[in-house]
Subunit: 365 residues, 2 copies
């Protein structure tokens, strides 16, 4: 299985296959280039400057992050063009930090309310360079974001508060489904909602230079001559059990797994690993059976997960691995797993080649 | 609601009410004292030396931890009696660390296989003081642990490998249910399985000084004259939405919540908070509706959770809080939430009084 790593890696650990990672980065860069979309990958997935640098070297125009804390980490690591793709509410402390960021890097912010946009404008007033703002549009996921017709009010408030209104963005979370049709529908929803919002802004006399869509499942599914001109996928660098089950990646595209030790074999068809929810995450999705994917055990499933135990149930006729063996578990949701560890163990075909700190781990605020 | 903390706490944050915490610690200590059970609380819940010190000062005989990493953190903080309640597989690196721990503190280990026990014995051979071993018994949760009748084989292997076999323990995870009967049944299962295992060891001529049971739901439900003589609850220090729904605590016993800011109000009956799965955890349980408990909004539920968004749906007739308001969310599973942050913000009736590092955060191996 993974036993060439016995003695080198302390389990549980998250292991990154750097060759698969670099292939994934190159392929998404190519998708963007071919169709003419700017690529601004979401760094919340990896939280790791070593990976951000590879994305930027492959042609990404900047990074997307979810929090001010993540922006601070990547700015400190040298990133100079950051989009905080989240409708921040700038209280006093956050306003101060935004202002410091705006003095340091090209900064793009997000809002889905006029009040939120005004606060952002006040926060960065007087910064060394203009701060862009994108209005968040709800394209069908029904989380944050306004309806396309309501984008103008937010954009006007932002412009009045001194922000450089640059366009609109959306996150098509409803494209996370187990069939390709869900992804196609979500991609069409994105195009329609973003197109309507951009048109509304233009009709109101506002400039629209950025029309930004998600996401690993929908990335590149837009019409090249359609309204979308930027993509912000995150998970594609690693992929995970959910993407595999959705069909948005192949098994060979999975670049990260939890490496775990068999600590107990309580029955011939069952064994227990030392990787629990505190390293692979507790996320479940309706389209993955169990708590992760076991690449080396076809037909097996993680049928129970607690903080430090993954119970694997084997199909009939499969022999359990011995105590002390190493087993790989691909997390259901890789962004959650990466956020649980301090470092990623980097391997290639020869063994461990590096360890990368998850520099923005826990940077939630 | 929680708005007295605006300007003091950056959201999202995990906030601990120290008065409730100390009441919970005192009450469990009293439960143990009254019924004559030794109390060895599980520190994986809080991972925080400031809380461990309060537990020990209230009369705990030692701490339980889940990993070598946690043991190292608490030993460094001065704890001198530690039980790693997990069937570790001691590879070379872990063997070295166990030996170093055994030289430093009273150490108790766990095994559920003869091979595992032998490895532990080899790991700590020659340590300055004897290292205890408890055999893990499966009392019905069907995770790790052996059947009571199989305890003798593990115990003999441990004794032959030089460990001080001290008794048996179990974790009654099947006592986590939404009705009090499940807890009672699990407590009876614990007593029966531990009693049978202890009897089997004694019949084989082995000494049994420790018979150790779980857990916040079953703690103290054993017969004072029964076989169990030690309790290892963890969650009781904070409690959480799962314990509340199970009825194993009252609302007033909840000592920890995520403090979050309202960032979006997309509809009159819906608002979005900046606390997502990366701070409150993604754990769900069949007996909690949604992703956490909202103490200030009766009838409301967190109906969707993503990494940095909690979508709250309100019952008819309840007004949404304004943008920028602070709202408390009690996590479903507090052990998972605490492991996501670097520090706990400590409050009493007057405001923020301290910040405690989650010193063993991420110490999975």
């Amino acid at each position: 299985m993974r036993n060439e790593l016995v003695g080198t890696v302390t389990t549980p650990a998250l292991v990154v296959d750097v060759e698969v990672l670099e292939r994934n980065i190159a392929r998404m860069a190519e998708t963007g280039r071919t169709a003419g979309f700017a690529l601004r990958p979401h760094a919340k997935t990896h939280k790791c400057p070593q990976i951000a640098r590879r994305q930027l070297a492959a042609g990404a125009t900047g990074l997307t992050v979810a929090t001010i804390g993540e922006a601070e980490v990547f700015a400190a690591a040298g990133a100079d063009d950051l989009f905080i793709g989240y409708p921040l509410w700038a209280d006093e402390g956050k306003a101060r930090r935004l202002r410091a960021l705006a003095d340091r890097t090209a900064l793009r912010l997000a809002a889905d309310s006029a009040a939120g946009a005004r606060r952002l404008g006040e926060a960065v007033r007087g910064a060394d360079r203009p701060v862009q703002l994108l209005v968040e549009i709800d394209s069908g996921h029904h989380r944050t974001g306004v309806r396309p017709a309501d984008a103008v009010e937010v954009a006007r408030a932002a412009a009045d508060a001194g922000l450089d209104v640059a366009g609109v963005f959306t996150f098509p979370g409803h494209g996370y489904g187990h069939d390709a049709q869900a992804r196609e529908r979500a991609a069409r929803d994105e195009e329609r909602a973003l197109g309507e919002a951009a048109e509304a802004l233009r009709s109101a006399g506002l400039d629209v230079r950025v029309v930004s869509g998600g996401s690993t499942p929908t990335a590149g599914r837009w019409r090249p001559d359609g309204p979308v001109d930027e993509l912000r996928p995150g998970v594609y660098v690693f992929n995970d059990a959910a993407q595999l089950a959705m069909g948005s990646c192949a098994a060979a595209d999975i670049a990260l797994y939890a490496l775990a030790t068999v600590v107990s074999v309580p029955a011939p068809d069952r064994f227990v690993l030392d990787a629990g929810s505190k390293v692979i995450g507790a996320d479940t999705t309706p389209w993955v059976s169990g708590h992760g994917h076991l690449p080396d055990f076809p037909g097996a499933a993680v049928t129970a997960l607690s903080e430090h135990h993954a119970t694997v149930t084997l199909p009939a006729g499969t022999a359990a691995p011995g105590l002390g063996s190493l087993v790989a578990v691909v997390p259901n949701h890789v962004c959650a797993a990466v956020n649980l560890v301090d470092e990623l163990v980097v391997v290639d075909g020869t063994g461990v080649v590096d360890r990368w700190p998850v520099a923005a781990r826990g940077a939630n605020g």
